[in-house]
Amino acid sequence: MPRNSKNKPVITPEIVAEHGLSEGEYEIILDRLGREPNINELGIFSVMWSEHCSYKSSRRHLAKFLTKGDKVIQGPGENAGVIDIGDGDAIIFKMESHNHPSYIEPYQGAATGVGGIMRDVFTMGARPIALMNALRFGEPDHPKTKSLVNGVVAGIGGYGNCVGVPTVGGETNFHKGYNGNILVNAMCVGLARTDNVFYSAAKGIGNPIFYVGSKTGRDGIHGATMASAEFDDDSEEKRPTVQVGDPFTEKLLIEACLELMATDAIIAIQDMGAAGLTSSSIEMADKGGVGIELNLDKVPQREPNMTPYEMMLSESQERMLMVIQPGKEQMAFDVFEKWELDVAQIGKTTDTGRLVLKHQRKKVCDIPIAPLADDAPNLDRPYEIPKSLPVISLSDIHETQDYDDALVRIISNPDIASKRWIWEQYDRTVMTDTVDSSQSGGDAAIVRIHGSNKAVAITTDVTPRYVQADPYEGGKQCVAETWRNLTCVGADPIAITDCLNFGNPERPEIMGQLVGAIEGMNEACRAFDYPVVSGNVSLYNETNGQAIPPTPAVGGVGLIPDLTHFATLNGAKEGDTLILLGETTGWLGSSIYLREILRREEGAPPPVDLEAEKRTGDYVRKLIRMRRVNAVHDLSDGGLAITACEMAFAGNIGMSLNASVGIPLHGWLFGEDQGRYLLAVDEHSVNPVISTAKDKGIIAQVVGKVGGDRITAVGGFDVTLQGLREKHEGWLPEFMS
């Protein structure tokens, strides 16, 4: 680094470029400061204006989302979204990506992803009550896949299990499109009281600023900038930018913060996530319209001789920043010392509107705060929404001659096969409120609100191959599927969080995928009155110019008002009738059948009719509350055949499907038409269920029977439940052995 006569680094164009700032962006900095920034100030602008922190490519499009609703207490813009679930209870939740670090260092990357998302939730006053994760890995044959799966799963478990929050569900896909960029999206759901939600806006002048948690080290410096760039062959060298997690400290931090939150000592609180002390202090100051002055000598440090630059950009984990009510300092010290956490008063709020940093009695940074937020780049990148792939007619899709073989291949393919090997490594039952989890293979996890008879239902979903084939329809579909999943357990869907994982937005076709998906998602959100309350965007998921499949993961949350009326896919009994709700056309474009049996990845994805979807879902929820159904499962990957198998596995009972009427058999069994549900009902309920459906304009038909120990379809497959289960359970353990 070039240095001037006072041995200070000179800001050269190379240094500006290394910080990921464009020439134009640097010009704005020069203009706002009226001088050249020093290296600390440059570093601060660099992280605050990184894609990761500023959402500069996506902001104007995210603004289109429905974010308000009757139940929304806080939408996007805070650490997490907050919804009202009645009785003074609030649910606080968010999903976030930790993709880049998890590829470079899978254990720590995934572990700190879980830690970070939990902090976003308890920062707002909620006790975390459930974790979920949405994972995407490369193809199984890729040399890195196995070790990445191992590391990511161990990291998620290692962190969540120790902290004692149940990991209740998630999804895992494998596709060659993720060979160079895996996706690790973690979601946390917490419970708070509506009158005790905490926000990040600093208030008042001269109020003490407290630092709590782990000491600051040299880990994760510039992590946010790293997460805002593509990978190349030397990405391994980025390992030092990955943070290291300490779940023990996180657990202490949760308990200590919740203890202090029960008093009136905290004015504002913010966790130190991406861009650490920099973004936390600036966000608090900016939201509160105040200035902040920090004495960096007071920051608890893990290593000697840390520079201001390192301290401000460190992403050491398990740290919080808070503004404390004057006079309550001792109360705060007492609580944090009880929990043996590092705690220090490192500064105060000011009326200058500036961020002032002092280090060894010198002023090392003095910048106005407003431009960091207000002037953050808000790009209108060129985009081209890719046209949908052409619709493939069913007659152009070859019918298998061996249905037994087709069923076995689909049930044991990596995307559909049981993920028991993964979820058995997660504590799903700690806190003793888990009613249903990955264990049942169901549509949504169910977690009781402690001490009550109501529960939240939680799900994550996206079908990247649909989004790839048609970003708009795929965007609609991922929101609709979460809504459907919540409906399947009898929950009223309330709101979603999202994690938008895409490639390099500087390419118009990638930007087009992002915009198309957002618009499709938004249409579904509006149709269901199902707002987005939190989320994040992860771009530059590319290696050597190869982008991941567009993957807008959606996390949905709903409420089961009374746990005496809920359903799962487990519960079908001998003699039950299977009823299919929703329209079946035999849609095989972009289906699992097409990919796994015919090795074709093409065709328009199934369209989502949002009106029919809503009508059908509302009816399913009503049937569950009337206790008309014994088991419910929605139809998704692999269509009717796979849905029936999954219901059979959960209830450990056979299923026999009737002959198809008017649709070629392969389309009937494996077609992925949307908005459909399979119900198992008592024989005496069949007529009322079907006739009421017809009155409501919902297509309903008897499609089979429950019973025996085989899975059969007239004219199609006939296999034993046990044999099929072995194939379904067998793939992942064998792959990982």
Binding site: A154, C162, D246, V430, T432, R448
Partner: protein, 220 residues
């Protein structure tokens, strides 16, 4: 009836244990912080809950076993106070010397969480008397270090003395002789890796854990 749950930094089943105790006894359990040097007066039964005490970065339970409160528990347990440890609590009891043997890393090397079938090996202990003729129960397990180890002499002694209380039906972690839970010679101290406190409500998928708590509470 007064019960206590010990809280270490990063205990995480402390609330679960307290919920179970309140459900069975009708009274709230006292939550006792690890830095206390004595149990509150009049405690009749102590639960050492699951979790990752002190992060378990050393051997599981090793640091907790040396905490101030455990000293007092050891003294009182040796005088007959009923003490049960579940999961991390079991690990702590072995580290504290109240129960023999040690819990090593699972043979599969992975954390494992699943509903686990157990056989009751002795229905005549203070922790199993209420099970009557029931010989099989299901409790959730959730641990990384649940592989019970002791030398043959110790194992023989445990078996002979009827101190093997529960065994795994389908060993999930490599435990010697399928041992899931044991008690001390006097029968007042009991430890097991599975979680009976996670099986006390039909919504947990079963209520097999209730009788374990009832057994010990009614024996007092």
């Amino acid at each position: 009836m007064k019960t206590a749950v010990i809280v270490f930094p990063a205990s995480n089943c402390d609330r679960d244990a307290a919920v179970a105790l309140e459900k069975i006894t009708g009274h709230k359990a006292e939550m006792v912080w690890h830095r206390e040097t004595t149990l509150p007066a009049g405690i009749d039964f102590v639960v050492i809950p699951g979790g990752f005490s002190y992060g378990d970065y050393l051997r599981s339970g090793a640091m907790a076993a040396r905490s101030p409160i455990v000293k007092d528990i050891v003294t009182k347990a040796n005088l007959g106070l009923p003490v049960a440890g579940f999961c991390n609590g079991f690990q702590i009891l072995t580290e504290a010397g109240l129960l023999p043997g040690a819990l090593m890393r699972n043979t599969g090397l992975k954390y494992v969480c699943r509903p686990q079938k157990l056989k009751i090996s002795n229905n005549n202990t203070r922790y199993t008397s209420k099970y009557g003729n029931v010989s099989e129960v299901t409790f959730p397990i959730a641990h990384h270090d649940g592989n019970y180890f002791a030398d043959d002499e110790t194992l023989n002694k445990l078996e002979k003395g009827g101190r093997v209380v529960f065994r795994y039906d389908g060993n999930p972690n490599g435990s010697a002789r399928d041992i899931a839970g044991i008690c001390n010679e006097a029968g007042n101290v009991f430890g097991m890796m599975p979680h009976p406190e996670r099986a006390i409500d039909p919504l947990h998928g079963g209520t097999d854990g209730i009788n374990l708590f009832k057994s010990i509470i009614e024996s007092i």
